[in-house]
């Protein structure tokens, strides 16, 4: 996936090299063969790495289109002889997840219902946090930030029981709101760090100019800062979408049976005790669950890298 980027970087480096040489010794650009030993080794390693990661995916895709008798026959690497879409339909609509047999469909929508508010809420709060920490320093803001960052080192397990009690006291335990709250809390350290570093990299004079122009906290945030932070917002969105979509623990603890996210329901399908395991349905269900983060990465890979780089400068 990253091959084109790699290639173009190499080309750029070569160009720089050539220029340097020309400046030094007045040589013409030296013709370079495409197959140098270095490149052969490099691409061999990349190729093997790709195979290593793609092969399981291949097996999954192939298996999901086979019928059960064909799977029992063995030959897991062979393409399907009798091509069937039945497992996909079953995984989506009628596979049994515990007591109900509605497939992954309700789980998908539960995940969406958890995902969208969690991502939006955590991103917005973190952006305001980062902006406040950089531009409106208050007494103890550095300590506040350190504590926040320290929070990201505390294992989740330690916080679960207190959070169960807190959400119970708030009366939202076992509802979607509990999961949203928990995701927002746990997204805070890393997202705040991202936004803080990004805002710190913007010239402080912009903020000063806006203040001289009479803009206040929110107006500077919405009219000056936010329009400049698209790259870092994309990074935050990707981190949160994939993180929250892939979450299992908080979903199973806080959501309540009615609101189990897709990951939990996938687990229930795959681990259901009754009957013989339907590998083709399991494979289809797994791919379906993984599809959302996968699509996100494909669409935004380039933006993601750029944004990470932008957030990395200035600690």
């Amino acid at each position: 996936m990253s091959n084109p980027a790699q290639l173009s970087t190499n080309v750029a480096l070569d160009a720089v090299d050539n220029k340097g040489m020309r400046l030094e010794g007045n040589h013409g650009p030296r013709p370079k063969p495409f197959f140098t030993p270095k490149r052969i080794v490099l691409y061999s390693i990349l190729f093997v790495a790709c195979l290593y990661y793609l092969f399981p995916l291949y097996v999954m895709v192939v298996t999901s289109f086979k019928t059960m008798p064909e799977i029992r026959f063995g030959n897991i690497f062979a393409p399907p002889i009798e091509f069937t879409g039945e497992p996909w339909v079953k995984a989506w609509t009628s596979a049994c997840t515990g007591l109900t047999c509605n497939g992954l469909n309700p789980g998908f929508w539960n995940s969406v219902k958890i995902l969208i508010p969690s991502v939006l809420l955590s991103t917005v709060v973190a952006a305001v946090n980062g902006y406040g920490l950089v531009n409106w320093k208050f007494k103890g803001s550095e300590i506040f930030f350190s504590i926040l960052i320290f929070g990201s080192f505390i294992p989740y397990q330690v916080m679960i029981y207190p959070l169960v009690m807190i959400t119970r006291e708030l009366g939202i335990y076992g509802s979607i709101w509990a999961v949203i709250l928990v995701h927002t809390i746990f997204g805070m350290p890393i997202l705040t760090l991202l936004f803080r570093n990004y805002f710190a990299s913007l010239p402080v004079e912009l903020f000063k100019a806006a203040r001289v122009d009479g803009a206040g906290f929110w107006r500077i945030f919405f009219e000056i800062m936010l329009p400049m932070s698209l790259p870092i917002i994309v990074v935050a969105l990707i981190l949160q979408v994939t993180g929250i979509w892939n979450d299992f623990l908080f979903g199973v603890v806080f959501a309540g049976t009615q609101n189990y996210p897709m990951t939990v329901q996938l687990n229930n399908i795959v681990n259901s005790a009754q009957g013989s395991p339907e590998y083709n349905v399991n494979m289809a269900a797994t791919i379906l669950t993984g599809l959302v983060p996968l699509i996100i990465y494909f669409i935004s890979g380039r933006l993601f890298v750029r944004g990470i780089a932008a957030g990395a400068v200035k600690g």
């Binding site: 010239p203 912009l206 000063k208 100019a209 009219e223």
Partner: protein
Amino acid sequence: MDHSVSIRDLSLSFGNVRVLEHLNLDIGQGEFIVLLGPSGCGKSTLLNCIAGLLDVTGGQIFISGKNVTWEEPKDRGIGMVFQSYALYPQMTVERNLSFGLRVAGMDKKEIDQRVKRASEILQIEPLLKRKPAALSGGQRQRVAIGRALVRDVDVFLFDEPLSNLDAKLRSDLRVEIKRLHQRLKNTMIYVTHDQIEALTLADRIAIMKNGVIQQLADPHTIYNRPTNLYVAGFIGSPSMNFLEGDLIGGDQPTIRLESGTTIPVGGYEFETKPKSGSTKAVLGIRPEHILVGEAAASMPYQEDVVIEIVEPMGSDTLAYTTVGGVSVSARADSELDLKAGQKLRVGFDPGRGSIFDVETTNRL
């Protein structure tokens, strides 16, 4: 009160670091004040305090007779221009100019009028629909000035506005700022580390060092009668020549250098008559006050020297030599066609120089 800006006993510290201490400054209506000093001297900090972007630790700031020490920047009647332009990148020039007015909730017609007037004055009308990224450095700085202009403020604050521009543009825009000041007659406070900008623009220059104003005076006084050794060495390029020795008071005061050379300084106007004994002192002479060749003949102090290095500067030539055992530079007419190794006579009038006490570094 006819002061445009008054700063009373201003102090500012970041933690334990005291940046400004008991600073006083009065700026007249319509005056162009330049705060000049090396980086880290507190000049930008002072400007930020005046703008209200930094909370002061002590003291008071008055603008147009109103105590604004704790007012928000927008309520101080100031406009500010930054070194990095600080234009809002996502807005067009027009929206950049009008941002402050829109924040203030001014009505559309009035905004358009003001933007039009400002862009006329600064000749940026063709750029109004562009984004800052599509402008050159000089154009960006004009827009930044325009942003202060539209708000119709009493006081303009400039924070090293020309430092990011190349030499040619810098001198163009310098003239333009001066023209703007003559036209608008606003009070302007201008921070720079460039002494040429300071000398050309200022009505008065405040030279700062370590958060303290060393001298506040018009450019002519600053240049010709520096109040202490620091100011003398900071202003002028190449810098003033310093001849250190003993000042011997009396009716005919002289300075005896370490080499034994004596220089009569009877023509010098002492601030206070020197004591009759001997004090350690430094005689400072500007390179252009050391005359070379025939012109030296009429000078009170003369010496035959060998020219060591010659630097032709186009309009004139810098000659490096040794006078009284001390290396000095002299600015000579380029017509003289000096050569290294050439022997000739140099001379100067100590009366045009400055004499400083070595211990206090103050002007004598």
